[in-house]
């Protein structure tokens, strides 16, 4: 059996913001979209081997790189090859070595969370990792944008304890994420039915997405699942390069708009909702 490897951008031994309790958070390299508000754009460039048939099926195999160029990297920026520049930090880890690394953080962590980038791009290696981590009594969660093929990543869906699910937008994914025709609603529904959704989130930004429609659609989907929390997060631009701050700042929603969205979720009947300003 070939040793599987993960392309990792960063490991954070103790994190309290990537799922419940104290967890080891592992940020993978590579994403299949390029959201305008991304705060880790250096995790976007993906190793070509990650682009599988499944992605071609979903149509998101390379378009994100153009979007990355156009919207995230500054015009005329010296680094025209973000692959090289941004991937400098990323390291290939043998899954077995990663398991040993995670063991060092026991008994202080209750689980691990795979994030990134879009971790499902490396679903096979993650399955191998979870297979070896779960017997240690650690809870295994995956952060995802939901843009995956259910059939293809079935083994990951089965083995994961849960997903932290980001619903980016329910229509016009190109405007927000740089890749057209992407939808995550079927995937969300599927995971909800399996009781594998730990939490749902949506980042709210004006102009690039329809906040009201997105939030209301999700709220309705969550009605049969009152125990699933929905978190609405206001976009921010702190720490971004100047040109991005300039172009995105006008799209930061006002607190009252966040309150309105929060209220609409509750009106629809899903009480388990919160928002972050």
């Amino acid at each position: 059996m070939m040793a599987s490897k993960l392309h990792i951008h960063q490991i954070i031994p103790f994190s309290n913001v990537d799922g419940p309790g104290n967890r080891c958070a592992i940020f993978l390299q590579g994403c299949n979209v390029a959201c305008v508000y991304c705060h880790n754009p250096e995790t976007i460039p993906a190793d070509p081997s990650f682009i599988t048939k499944a992605h071609k099926k979903l149509g998101n195999e390379n378009h994100n790189m153009e979007f990355l160029h156009d919207n995230i990297i500054e015009e005329g920026h010296a680094a025209k090859q973000p692959q090289i520049q941004y991937e400098e930090q990323a390291v290939w880890w043998d899954v077995d070595n990663l398991v040993e690394e995670i063991k060092k953080y026991q008994p202080f962590i209750r689980g691990i969370t795979l994030s990134g980038g879009e971790p499902t791009l490396q679903w096979e290696a993650i399955v191998d990792l979870f297979d070896k981590i779960k017997p240690l009594g650690l809870n295994c969660l995956v952060d995802t944008n939901g843009f995956f093929d259910i059939e293809t990543i079935q083994p990951l869906i089965e083995i994961a304890d849960g997903f932290l699910f980001d619903v980016k937008t329910v229509k016009n994914s190109e405007s927000l994420c740089g890749v057209p025709n992407q939808s995550a609603l079927n995937q969300l529904n599927y995971l909800l039915q399996l009781d594998k959704i730990e939490e749902v989130r949506t980042v709210i930004i004006s102009g690039y997405m329809d906040g009201v429609q997105t939030v209301e659609t999700v709220a309705k989907m969550l009605l049969p699942y009152p125990h699933v929390p929905y978190r609405l997060i206001r976009v921010h631009v702190k720490g971004m390069q100047k040109h991005r701050q300039a172009s995105l700042a006008p799209h930061i929603p006002k607190p009252t708009q966040m309150e309105m969205l929060y209220d609409s979720v509750r009106r629809i009947g899903h009480d388990n909702v919160s928002y972050v300003l």
Binding site: F14, V17, Q241, V276
Partner: protein, 507 residues
């Protein structure tokens, strides 16, 4: 150290001491006037190690007239009242709190203030009737303690299990934000989670309570209380004396680990043990403390419940000395060889201390208890002796590694040790994560944990780090995401509290 007559005017004429402090210092001075060779029978060797700073007696006197730490069993007051103070057993919360405050005035210690004021929740809970009215009384009581027992070594215990009184005490402690009393939560695996989390919140906000591994202390000391800094001492008893070895200073006088382990350390340790014997003999046989103290006569304390503490500081410095001698560019805290040396030193001491026939310490199996001492800067040498078995400040590894390095050393110190860990402000919203860490530490046989909040400039929200000061400083073209695999590690400068909590979607 011995005092002399000229020290008197330096106290009486001091511009920086209050009346109370002058009074206390004069008493301490008098206690240190007699020649210990005459009065206590100290040998030349014992005096030499005191004078060359290898042994530190924490300025305890040479004519001790009371035990260093007294741990009254305040339950006696509830059952019998106090005859000496003409107090009947309390019938309600008012009488209990008033009675305790009166009692506290009469509990001596090395600082003249009580180092233990009770397992407060156990004492108070049977008297709780009207929650809101009683809350006001409890808060007033705690504030009274802070303003009259002006010594942060005054210590109260709560736990392990949830009670109304315990919850009210935590609520008051958070609201008051007072330094005194110091507090410990006696934690057990089956302590109620919501009660523990409230205690963690208090610990982060107001630096108390700390958490003791109750199962371990019960195993090693029996019925006990956490007192003073974090000392575990027998309930209804206490400790006669606490001197300490400056391991850094001792090591610096040797040119090999072998010389340390086989020659100098046994000699100095042996002297400190016999010194302790003599001090205890004096307290028990000559000072008449137990004969004249109402606390003893009425059963708040019993002479048989007293032990004595053999303290150490400077383990890190001793180890660093030997690492250097071995030609290694490693430091205690991040060195496997360093840990091995540290354990060799501690095992030696453990054998010595446990093998020594202690005087008047029936309660702890006839021997003294090792203690990892913290605080007290009484000599230049203390700069070269890091507290307890801690790693030198600034040399600590990241939190998970630090916790695992420290845990194996806790076993040597049945009368107490404590480690301090910083958490940033996100911890307040994720108490379950802090609890995970505390549980993990105790599962490795940590004895005691203190956490504190250190507001960080660098905080994480899911998916990325935000450095608040970066907003002003973004000049580079790269998105600035500073690398930190550290959660709660104190490398960050204090900064303003991040008022907008922000999260991205993990991309």
């Amino acid at each position: 150290m011995r005092s002399n007559m000229t020290d008197i005017t330096s106290i009486t004429q001091s511009k920086s001491l209050t009346y109370q402090q002058k009074l206390f210092n004069l008493a301490n001075l008098a206690e240190r006037l007699p020649d210990p060779k005459e009065l206590l029978g100290y040998t030349d060797d014992e005096m030499m190690f005191l004078e060359n700073d290898m042994i530190c007696d924490l300025n305890e006197g040479y004519a001790p007239y009371r035990p260093r730490y007294i741990v009254p069993d305040y339950k006696v007051f509830i059952e019998k009242g106090c005859a000496f103070l003409e107090l009947k057993p309390p019938k309600d919360l008012d009488e209990l709190l008033d009675g305790l405050l009166i009692l506290y005035h009469h509990v001596p210690s090395i600082t003249s203030f009580p180092v233990y004021i009770g397992d407060l929740d156990h004492l108070m809970d049977p008297f709780i009737k009207d929650v809101e009215a009683d809350y006001i009384k409890i808060k007033r009581f705690l504030n009274h303690v802070d303003k009259t027992i002006v010594d942060s070594f005054c210590h109260a215990d709560i736990g392990p299990y949830k009670t109304v009184a315990g919850e009210l005490i935590l609520r008051a402690v958070i609201e008051l934000e007072n330094p005194t009393p110091n507090m410990s939560f006696k934690y057990r695996d089956d302590s109620e989670e919501d009660f523990v989390k409230k205690a963690i919140e208090a610990c982060l906000r107001v630096a108390k309570p700390s958490f003791s591994n109750d199962a371990l202390y019960v195993r090693d000391v029996g019925d006990h209380a956490l007192v003073s800094c974090y000392n575990a001492l027998p309930m209804g008893g206490g400790a006669y004396t606490l001197p300490r070895l400056r391991l850094g200073t001792i090591a610096a006088a040797t040119s090999s680990l072998d010389e340390m382990l086989k020659k100098l350390l046994p000699r100095v340790a042996g002297c400190m043990l016999t010194m302790m014997d003599k001090r205890i003999d004096y307290i028990v046989e000559k000072s008449n403390f137990y004969e004249t103290s109402f606390l003893n006569k009425e059963g708040f304390i019993k002479r048989e419940n007293f032990t004595a503490m053999f303290g150490i500081v400077g383990l890190a410095d001793a180890v660093n000395h030997f690492l250097k001698l071995e030609g290694l560019a490693e430091r205690f805290g991040t060195s496997a060889r360093g840990d091995a040396i540290g354990h060799q030193i501690m095992q030696q001491l453990e054998e010595r201390v446990n093998g020594h026939h202690g005087h008047y310490v029936e309660r702890t199996g006839g021997h003294y208890l090792l203690h990892a001492q913290v605080g007290a800067s009484l000599s230049e040498e203390d700069k070269y002796n890091t507290p307890a078995h801690r790693i030198r400040v600034g040399e600590e590894p990241i939190l998970p590694v630090h916790l695992k390095q420290a845990a194996p050393f806790h076993k040597y110190f049945p009368s107490g040790t404590g480690d301090l860990f910083a958490f940033d402000q996100t911890a307040l919203d994720h108490l379950d994560a802090v609890l995970d860490i505390i549980k993990g530490a105790f599962s490795l046989d940590f004895r005691y944990i203190t956490t504190y909040l250190k507001n960080s400039d660098l905080i994480r929200v899911t998916g990325y780090l935000v450095k608040k000061s970066e907003v002003e400083k973004v000049a580079r073209d790269e998105v600035v995401l500073r690398d930190t695999e550290i959660f709660g590690h104190g490398t960050n400068q204090a900064a303003h509290v991040f008022d907008r909590r922000i999260r991205n979607d993990g991309e």
